[in-house]
Amino acid sequence: MIRKAVSSQPKVRKRRGRFAETAHRLSKNIPAMCALCFVVLLIMSAVFAPYLAPYDYAKQDLTQKFVTPNLAHPLGTDNFGRDILSRLLFGGRISLLVSVMAVAMSVGGALIVGSAVGYFGGALDNIVMRILDVFMAIPGMLLTIVFSVALGTTLFDTALAIALTSIPALARQLRASTLLIRDQEYIEAAKSFGSSHWRIIWKHVIPNTLAPVIVQTSMRLGEAILAISGMSILGLGVQPPTPEWGNILASGQEYIRTYWPLITFPGILIGLAMLSFNLLGDGLRDAMDPRLKK
């Protein structure tokens, strides 16, 4: 009897680290987990594109132009008779690569600018924030266009144009969280031990602002994919014949009257990728900081 009573008591919850705790909370969020699965699927398909693609993405076959989806070509063929599925698989590599580069640069840049400016404050803070205000007065899309026109259309240039546009908003956010941390006791303690400013920023400030950064990273990845394909529609960004979701979609626009697969499938992929990164970002936000949950 007694034994039964004891065993029916709730188990003492195992202590978990911060990472495990977050992962546990995230794993209970069904939409976020679906999104994560899709993101993993996308990454895998990009990595293994050469093995998965049924055809060479660049191989033209003018006798097989505009074939509607069938068993040989599951998603049809484009205006040069190239297999759309293969092009989308390889295009995913470029789209993901460029967006990862863009987000890495913007998060890196924003981390340096935001935490340094927030930590040191004073005149530096004022000057940098006013410059960022100017950046933010110009709509993101237009600023990316201007940067992209000036920089060029290689993969790196496209990523850089997107990164430069998204740094200000992110840096501003990081500055705000740094300001909250700057006056905490543990920073004071670190100072009294004689840590240098950069060491404090690296060891104490940045780790404590990381939660919103990770959430933003996920959200920005989706936005970057959208921005890259938007650029392609305008004739900027990654140029054909390199396959990229946006420029495959853009190439289909010309044939909208006669051939539907070329605009349908890349768009579905772009939309799903964006949706997944957004849902994952939402899930991560809720998992990392339950207080923020709406």
Partner: protein, 330 residues
Amino acid sequence: MVKYIVKRVLLLIPIVLGAVILVFTINYFNDSSPAITILGAAATPEKIAVVEAELGLDRPYFVQLGEYLWNIITKLDFGKSYSYNVPCSELIASRFPVTAVLGLLGVIISVVIGVSLGILAAVKQYSIFDYGSTLLATVFSAVPNFWLAMMLMLVFSVKLRWFPVSGLSTWKGWILPLISISIGPISLFLRMTRSSILEVIRQDYVRTARAKGLPEHKVISHHVIKNGMIPVATVIGLFVGISMTGTIMIEKIFNISGLGLLMYGAINTNDFILLQGCVIVCAIIISGMTLITDITYAFIDPRIRAQYVNSGRKKRLKTKTIKGSEGERA
């Protein structure tokens, strides 16, 4: 109130000047020369040098920047387009109305639909309507507007032939572009309104209103909506600007000759000075919209209004609330 408006307007000036300088500087460091655009295939190094000298592009950076700024401020002159060979300001002025009307209509549609659906979803929380609309809003906020435009065109113009494929010559031509522009903002307004109303609906004064026997529809219309709309109202103004630039790709897809199509042309003919002019005009309009939003916000929100009407309390509250309204923007 006047003091607040004056202060906000004065704050706008350095931002707009900064934006002009920024865009000019980015363009200045562009490798390819506008002379090549003008000369086309006939470009030789000697000819390029001659044309650049004519355009004054061989002068120092600060001289060019100074002249550009001075012309904008004194004459609203954005230079002469390389490809059209007419002043950019004329081109922009002729194309701007279409984009403005499209953008404004887009915002009106998205506010009306998004806000009313958001209120309905919040009032009937946990109902099928609530779940359905929130789900649809999540999905549609991830649909790229340019792709939506293409799909709408494919289904309704190409297959069903209900609407024209391009242009705005008839009223039917406006429908698909407007839908493509509005779907994203509708989802956004829906989600924002819903969460804002839900926050208000749990407040004590709403319970009080119900407790004193007010019929539910009056509680909602008088107490909930009035207070729940403040945060939503602050972003409407910003959206007018954003949706105006969001139309770039939509204009390209539906072949609507507005500012977006002008920019598209400028990008693809390397007409940098025209692109620069368009971007600056957009930046000015958006900054202006932000300003109007902030001022309207001050009028709507009694907390801000109070400090400027009642000058005795002004000093104490001032810094706090103004910062708050700017934080909303960020």
